[in-house]
Symmetry: C2
């Protein structure tokens, strides 16, 4: 399948209307089966990849082979930008389900960008957006306790599904508890316990991969204080600000994972 530059911009949610001059160019797509690796750390860098459908994890491996998850790219997300710096990817991308990506040769897109300033802006923004996302992760891992991290993760995931037109509050996790834990710097049991606690408190409903966010405000409230001592033993003090949860903490959950 071929994808035009305009379609690519649409996928990334940037408006490139009126600059069809670059439309002569098109990009190929590539299908990746579940569990397959798109690129590995150390591979030569040639292309960025834009997820067209499906779900990935990106990760680094430590000397002993343990994986540190860096992000969970889904539709509209870009993978591989870490390869620009040194000419080799420093991370690895693995499909969590059958997926399709647009292959964007970097030499080509940057040449096109030179001709088309709006496209150039898209490229810079995409890289910067990644930067902001990772800063958000550092914030979450640095400031929040286990439950706050899991709450941030759920809210962020909901936001991203919402941005794609899916439900913001009901979705299926495509990754395991262990993978979530790796991203958040927690063990799988801790993730499981946090989810169970949220369920018991009525903030969410969980059943394996299925998650329904019932009280987003309560989840946002958990991101307020470091190591929120919210869910201990039995009942939880419901301090949500109503159904729509307008607690607001000045921190957009969209500024976290990916």
């Amino acid at each position: 399948v071929q994808v035009s530059t305009t379609e690519l911009a649409q996928l990334l949610r940037f408006d490139l209307a009126g600059y069809a001059n670059a439309d002569a160019a098109s990009f190929t797509t590539r299908r990746i089966g579940e569990g397959e690796t798109l690129y590995r750390a150390g591979d030569e860098f040639h292309s960025l990849y834009v997820v067209r459908s499906g779900f990935f994890k990106t990760l680094m491996l430590d000397p002993s082979g343990a994986e540190q998850v860096l992000a969970f790219p889904m539709t509209a997300d870009v993978m591989g930008a870490d390869g620009i710096a040194s000419g080799r990817y420093t991370s690895e991308a693995i499909a969590l389900e059958a997926s399709e990506v647009v292959v964007v040769p970097f030499a080509r897109i940057s040449a096109l960008a030179r001709e088309c300033p709006p496209l150039e802006r898209v490229l810079y923004r995409v890289l910067s957006r990644e930067l902001v996302r990772e800063q958000g992760m550092l914030y979450v891992v640095g400031m929040l306790g286990a439950e706050g991290r899991v709450a941030a993760f759920l809210l962020n995931l909901g936001e991203r599904f919402g941005a794609l037109g899916y439900s913001r509050t009901s979705f299926n996790l495509r990754m395991t508890r262990q993978e979530i834990g790796s991203l958040l710097g927690l063990k799988l049991e801790t993730v499981s316990r946090a989810l169970s606690a949220f369920d018991a408190a009525g903030f969410i409903k969980v059943n394996l991969k299925r998650v329904d966010i019932v009280d987003a405000g309560a989840l946002r409230a958990m991101m307020e204080e470091p190591i929120a001592p919210v869910l201990r033993s039995g009942a939880a003090r419901v301090r949500s600000s109503g159904p729509s949860g307008l607690v607001g903490n000045g921190l957009k959950p969209s500024s976290l994972p990916a």
Copy 2:
């Protein structure tokens, strides 16, 4: 003071020789006193800043005003790239000592980059390098215990001083234990204890801000296993691989903080 494009490239350690055509352009510099803020989260984004001399911290603030340190930019490092995405900075930069930065208006540098492909490459690489650095931080925080994180921090700082022509093993910390802890997701006491333990084990010599790395190999070894149980009570099992420490774990310490 004015800085030419070529000088700017040199500062960033990229070779732009032979492309003096862009040299007509020059950039202004700005002096920042110790404790002063270069830009704040929410400020409109116009420029990137390249550190010419001095030392900074970049950080995010949580709703209650607590700070999460994101990096410690020093000479040759770039600040402000997070502002490209949304047109506003999402982080804040504060000088830890009297410093000087080159002000690089983004509109101007990207226009120049269009005329000069090598400069364009520099720009993309600078952004990507930031991405890689933050991935390294996520790795450190996600995989290592307190001592491993501090070891990684020291090694990385040494590498960066070395790259600037200073000693890789003897340097002065310009930030407090609290700021180090914030970057690493630890409390100041924990940082202090780790440093004391390294000292007691003979891996380093510490005295307040002064640090001498005695056994870099031993420090690298601490980054091997999650929560390395190396320094308990009295003596430490010296398992360095000699003076130069060629233990090697496949993880460059240069791929961490900043």
